[in-house]
């Protein structure tokens, strides 16, 4: 019965309760959202990192190299020479080395040239087809298949750069040979192909388009400014970062290969010395080797080697500072919620003392009255938490809409363990606020109250 009275009473003054609940709701929503995002971001960072001990790429911002090569959320720092990279890839301490090369995209999905090792690393399972074997074969995730409508056996052409509307390499068609199940990793957002494909598309590009371009004009693209041999210099990969001044793109070398017009056996004739890749992901046999490698690479070559775990820890630390600030604000809101519950309960005590005295006269003891007020604080807290939780998930939904296209990120709506502590905190806020009013309710002089006129 006490529970029923408490429940009915908090809805008797809906505005009072509404204020308390809405303050709690916003506090809880903000904290819960931060908890989920931080938790999942950390988890995602860790999962995508797998056992990549070292990333080698062009000199530039180390964090950018990690974000672009491991997480594919930033643009690459530039290109490195394959021959030079291979010197490191072939070292005996290296357990596993995966080269990456990119530049093209299809419907805003990055086309990544690599080796089948990359797919194995993320333990992708094929629903249809198989892993790519030869150049111009591509693998996509079921997610991309759904979004783009590509099916097994379909062909598509890449757009130069990452933005839609760039130059279209319409003379080289990729063929979908395998669709893999969702891996919940960075793999889901990539179109994977053999690294040779990237070289073929870009090395042959200029000359081929020159001869074929006009025939295909009808059914393909509007962006036929191929007459300009330097059209790749406005590559979208060029960013504004200062440290990119020396960034190169694969395509800058294509003019050197212009004389090589024999496309039928092109991949065998590409000069190995001029082949370029974007980055290499390395796994070492011992952690010790990974620790000493960066200095060697950074000093002796014009590439840079970065320990991704270190960069990500730094990034998480920086995010953490921002998150702490927001958490403090949310904590302030929670404190205000605590006060508002206190005021709501305390200010009503005066008009409610008659009914509280009445409850005593029909047989409730003073402890029950104490429990009644505590229960009211508790119920407001629970309501605030539930609504706050749903608000955080609603926000997450809108954030997901944004994050998926911008950062290849998708947050799950699951209840995280930290949110359990948040629940306890919210309940504590409710009970703490009700403590003094409850104490007062317990000490009401029933006889005096009931003889007042």
């Amino acid at each position: 019965m006490i529970g029923k009275i408490a429940w009915k009473n908090i809805f008797y003054k809906p505005l009072n309760t509404g204020l308390c609940v809405s303050l709690l709701l916003f506090g809880v929503a903000i904290i819960s959202l931060l908890l989920v995002i931080q938790h999942q971001l950390n988890q995602k960072f860790e999962e995508d990192l797998k056992d990549i001990d070292l990333v080698i790429g062009a000199k530039g911002s180390p964090l950018q190299l990690v974000l672009s090569a491991v997480y594919h959320v930033d643009s690459p720092t530039g290109n490195i020479n394959l021959a030079e990279a291979e010197k490191i890839m072939n070292l005996p301490v290296v357990k596993n080395a995966i080269p990456l090369a990119y530049g093209d995209s299809y419907q805003a999905y990055r086309i990544l040239g690599t080796t089948p090792d990359y797919i194995e690393k993320y333990e992708a399972k094929f629903i249809e087809g198989r892993a790519f074997k030869t150049p111009m074969e591509a693998n996509i995730s079921e997610q991309i298949a759904n979004k783009t409508g590509l099916k097994l056996g379909d062909t598509f052409v890449g757009t130069h750069g990452e933005a839609q509307g760039g130059h279209v390499h319409d003379s080289h068609q990729y063929k979908v040979v395998g669709i893999f199940k969702k891996t919940n990793s960075v793999l889901d957002q990539l179109i994977l192909t053999d690294i040779e494909s990237v070289w073929i598309v870009h090395d042959s590009n200029h000359a081929e388009e020159h001869s074929k371009g006009h025939e295909q004009e009808g059914n393909s693209n509007k962006l036929h400014d191929e007459e300009n041999p330097n059209h790749h210099d406005h590559a979208l990969e060029e960013h504004n970062h200062n440290d990119h001044s020396h960034a190169h793109h694969i395509h800058e070398h294509e003019n050197k290969n212009d004389d090589n017009n024999d496309h039928s056996h092109l991949h065998t004739t590409i000069d190995n010395k001029n082949k370029e890749i974007t980055a290499v992901l390395l796994q070492f046999k011992t952690k010790m080797a990974a620790m000493t490698m960066p200095r060697m690479v950074n000093e002796q070559t014009n590439m840079q080697a970065v320990l991704p775990a270190m960069e990500i820890n730094r990034l998480i630390y920086l995010i953490g500072i921002g998150a702490t600030t927001i958490n403090l604000i949310a904590g302030g809101i929670m404190l205000m919620a605590c006060f508002s519950i206190f005021f709501a309960l305390y200010s009503r005590l005066k008009e409610r003392k008659y009914e509280l005295a009445l409850l005593r006269s029909v047989g409730y003891n003073s402890k029950s009255l104490f429990a009644l007020l505590i229960l009211e604080g508790f119920m407001i807290a629970i309501i605030g938490y539930v609504f706050g939780w749903f608000l955080s998930r609603l926000t997450l939904y809108f954030l997901n809409e944004q994050a998926e296209s911008d950062f290849n990120l998708q947050f799950s709506y699951m209840f995280t363990s930290n949110e359990f502590w948040l629940l306890l905190l919210t309940i504590l806020v409710g009970i703490l606020a009700a403590l003094l009013p409850a104490w007062q309710a317990m000490r009401i002089d029933i006889s005096k109250t009931l003889s007042e006129k």
Partner: protein
């Protein structure tokens, strides 16, 4: 069943009130009359165990009220006594029916319905207390007072605000409910209209120790 002996109560900073000894048996009724300020309500509250006497004893079925702990006293009151207060008090957020069933010792919904039928407020059960007229509220208070099948019904000035016709009606309702519940009935009032209806009348004098 209920008896008092040498009962005294002293408010802070005032002279003690002395109450006459009473003895009342099951099924009987008693009217306690007195002018305003002579301690009628205090006497009633002492009998109900809402207040502890500074001196003297109240014995109820061989149990002494002043020896009970506070929560035992709450329990005792909830079980055996029904009180109709001078004003009608309700839990505002609950409906009339919920107010009737509010006591942890109230019998059940069926009893609430039959009692309310007798008191002719059975069509008001789903309303909120503040939607009732004063007369209806008083009936509802009487109904609540008997919901726990009390052995003793205490009523504080139940008729002071009513006209002659309603006064008679409320009085007969109280007597009827007491009879049905086989309870003793004690009414404190300054309303002289009631005197003729009671065999036992005690006049409470503003007797204060000098």
């Amino acid at each position: 069943m209920i008896s008092t002996k040498n009962l005294e109560y002293q408010f802070p900073d005032s002279k003690p009130l002395i109450f006459p000894d009473i003895i009342l048996n099951k099924g009987h009724s008693l009217l306690i009359c007195g002018e305003s300020g002579c301690g009628k309500t205090s006497f009633l509250h002492l009998l109900a165990g809402l207040r502890k006497p500074t001196q003297g004893k109240i014995t109820f079925d061989n149990e002494e009220l002043s020896s009970l702990s506070a929560s035992k006293l709450d329990q005792f009151r909830g079980r055996t006594i029904g009180i109709v207060f001078q004003q009608s008090y309700f839990v505002q957020s609950l409906s009339v029916l919920e107010n009737l069933l509010i006591s942890p010792y109230s019998v059940n919904k069926t009893k609430a319905n039959t009692v309310c039928k007798r008191l002719k407020i059975d069509d008001l059960l789903n309303r909120k207390p503040h939607q009732l007229s004063t007369g209806q509220q008083q009936r509802a208070s009487i109904a609540r007072a008997v919901m726990n099948a009390p052995k003793l019904i205490l009523a504080d000035e139940p008729t002071s605000a009513l006209d002659d016709k309603n006064c008679k009606q409320v009085l007969s309702l109280l007597k009827e409910e007491a009879k049905i519940n086989k309870a003793a009935l004690i009414i404190v009032t300054h309303d002289n209209r009631l005197k003729s209806d009671f065999d036992n009348v005690i006049k409470l004098n503003p007797l204060k120790k000098s």
